[in-house]
Each structure stands twice: as structure tokens, then as C-alpha cells.
Symmetry: none
Subunit: 238 residues, 2 copies
């Protein structure tokens, strides 16, 4: 008669118990879980069931198991673990190429329509962000530079006056950002030349938009993405 209708199975139940222990702090980050055999006896289930529950937690990044050593609680604060895509991008490098390829098309078209339909307000906003980007570049403030970069692309998407491009841009970029954060990579680190080139590319794109030259804007944006792609490809493992 307990209100808790344990969904379907013992695996769920064990998982919830473990989650509860994690949340309550009885299993603080870094600590080791009791061995699977102990847990199995403790919860009065088979080790198989315990293992499957642990696998589910591991899939969400809550714990990490080291063969021969034990299962350890990870730092919960760290993993954002958002959409199913995040993990997939991390696991399948090939998918990253797919995304970049798609992004080339998407952002190219976005720039195209931005150049075609940007109103005065859009142009002003884009101009301001370009100034901001240049300023950050001069200050060698990487964080500010990245932020301005993101905002600039968003402003361009906004200027396209097509909600599909705007929102899709947001999700795709978010996806990539997730991946970059996960992998800790990031290309533009300290490389001044790269940074300068990126700035120049942005300038070309924005100029084309301001001059209302769609084709030019698209080409420039695609070149920009190509450059990004080459940089990302370059510093990767393997």
C-alpha cells in the first residue's frame, strides 16, 4: 500500500536507493560504493540487478567504476548532462563532423538571409558586437572573445528573421558547446594568429551583411566555418 509505485522493477528500485544515497550525501563525491556483492545482499537482489542499476548511474555520469578497485562517486556538480546528444557527440567523433558539416550549411544560409533582411536595428546590434569582439581581441580576453563570438552569431541568426534558423542555431551551438566543454578542447587557446584570422573572418561576414550582399555573406560564413573545422580537426587526437 505504499504510495511509491515502484515503476516496474527492482533495478529501478536499487537505482533510486543509490541516487537517494548520493543526494543525501551518505555517499559523498569521491567515496567508494560498497562492493556489488555487498549491495546485492543488502538490497536482497542479485548482483546482476545491482550491476544494471550501477550501469544506469554510470551512463548518467554519476558514478565511475574502476575494474578491480570499485565504483566511485563522481563530482556531481561537474556534469551538465543535458540532451542525449551531448554524450553521443562525445562518444562518436564522426558525429562531430556531421554537425560541423550541417553547421556550414545552416550558418551559411543564416548569413545569406541576414544579409537579405537585416533591418537597421540588426545592423546596429551586429556592429556593436563586432566592436565588442575587437575590443576583447585587443584585451586578449579569451572569455570575452568567446562570449562576443557567440553573441555575434546569435545576432546574425536573429537578423535572418527566420525563427527556424534562430532556434536551430541555438540548439546546435549549444550541442557543440556541450561537447567542447566535455572534451575540454578548444582551439583558439593562446594562438594569436588564429584569433586574428577569426576576427577578420567575422569582419568579412558582417561587412557583407551590412552591405546587403547575401551571396557574399554566405560564402564568407562558410569559409569561416571551414576554417573552424580545419582548426578543430587539426588539434584533435588521432
Amino acid at each position: 500500500m505504499t504510495a511509491m509505485a515502484q515503476a516496474q522493477g527492482r533495478v529501478e528500485e536499487v537505482m533510486r536507493q543509490l541516487e537517494k544515497a548520493l543526494l543525501e550525501g551518505s555517499l559523498p563525491p569521491g567515496s567508494r560504493l560498497p562492493s556489488e556483492r555487498v549491495l546485492a545482499e543488502q538490497y536482497e537482489v542479485s548482483r546482476n540487478t545491482v550491476r544494471e542499476a550501477v550501469q544506469r548511474l554510470a551512463a548518467r555520469g554519476l558514478v565511475r567504476s574502476r575494474p578491480g578497485a570499485g565504483v566511485y562517486v563522481t563530482d556531481q556538480l561537474r556534469t551538465g548532462i543535458a540532451s542525449p546528444w551531448g554524450q553521443l557527440v562525445a562518444d562518436h567523433p564522426a558525429l562531430r563532423d556531421d554537425i560541423l558539416e550541417f553547421r556550414r550549411v545552416l550558418e551559411g544560409a543564416t548569413a545569406y538571409f541576414a544579409a537579405m533582411r537585416a533591418d537597421d536595428e540588426d545592423v546596429e546590434r551586429i556592429g556593436a558586437l563586432m566592436d565588442q569582439l575587437e575590443q576583447a581581441r585587443r584585451d586578449e580576453d579569451m572569455a570575452a572573445e568567446a562570449a562576443a563570438d557567440a553573441k555575434l552569431h546569435e545576432a546574425i541568426a536573429l537578423a535572418s528573421h527566420n525563427s527556424m534558423f534562430l532556434h536551430l542555431h541555438a540548439s546546435i551551438i549549444g550541442m557543440l558547446r556541450e561537447h567542447i566543454t566535455l572534451n575540454g578542447t578548444g582551439m583558439r587557446r593562446q594562438d594569436e594568429k588564429v584569433s586574428a584570422q577569426l576576427l577578420e573572418q567575422h569582419r568579412v561576414v558582417c561587412d557583407a551583411i551590412r552591405a546587403r550582399r547575401p551571396e557574399e555573406a554566405r560564402t564568407a560564413m562558410q569559409s569561416h566555418i571551414d576554417y573552424v573545422r580545419s582548426q578543430v580537426d587539426g588539434n584533435g587526437k588521432e
Copy 2:
């Protein structure tokens, strides 16, 4: 360093294989996975290992298992992208123009990459669907024609060999079709000439893909979308 503790075990490996199948579309949303026993034999691992891999996928919401029935693929990947969209489109018909515009870009690029990367299997599938479409046309079976049309576009997306195009296509186009159906499809019905033209357009696109001419495929597809757009715009209904 970035060695990325890869494949510590068979569970990881099986999970990646399944993920790959999900991304590539060989396991489309709604479909049922082979039984665990079959998968175990297929990957040459124990059923236990397969189960743990499935549990990890289930933890991320990519699949859902129903006792006695089987394991089914969810549409998390698609809704993950187009999440905010279903409602918006339903509420704001104005977005339809945005979607069509986006679709022109998306499907154009999809056809482009399909022409570039279609393998023999893809070509064969596309050819079969073209035949199917012609047959439906001859029979004047509107329902079959629409179904074959949808399948054909999906096959092209599959042939692009890019997960992003595949899944985006499925979600966006599906959404759009739903909307069109809602609005009283119109267009191709009763008008024999329209139907004939659409068939011809599809033929041009498919021929370009089969002949491996990307640019031509893109142009043809965009012309096709333009035509669809003009027809939809034309026949009023708000």
C-alpha cells in the same frame, strides 16, 4: 592525454554499436531492437553484457524496454532538436513560411550530400521508391503517392550519410507534413498536372543523385521545394 579512456569493456563497445545504429537510422524511432538473445549472439557477447548496454541507453532515454514485448527506440534524438517547435508551429501558421524556407536549404543540402555519398544500397532503395511513386501515380492512388513521396525524401536523407540531416529532416519535415495535413493538404489532389510535375521533379532529383551530381541534385531539389511552396501558397486557405 586526450586518450579518452575508450572501450574499457565489451559493454561500452556494444553500447557504441547500438548508438551508431540509432544515429545512422538503421534503427529508426519506434522500431524494435532485436531481442537481447539475438543481439548477444550477433555481437558475440553474453546476454548480460547486452542487457547492461541497453540499461545504459535506457538511462539516457534513448530506448525504452517493455517486459515481454521488447526494447523500443524512442524519438529522443529528434525531439531533442525540435523540442520547442511542435507547439509553435501548430499555434502560429506564419511559421510555415519560415519552415518552408528552411526546408529549401535543408533538403537542398541533403540532396547535395546524398548525390555525393550514396552507396549502392541507397541508390537501389531510392530507385525502388521512385518506381513505387510512379506506380502510385499511374494508379491515381493519392495516399500511396503521398506515402511514397515521404519515404523517398527520407531515403534521400538517409543517403546523405549525415546524422544531423537525417534526424532533422525527420523531425522538421514530419512536423511540416502534419501541419499541411491539418490545413487540408490540398495541392496535389484533383490536379493531375501538378502530380505529374511533382513526379518529374522527383525524377530529376533522383537521377542527379544516381549520377552522382551534387550541385545538380541540390538545384533540382530546391526547384522542387520552390514548386511545392508555390502550390501551397497558391491554394489559399488562410
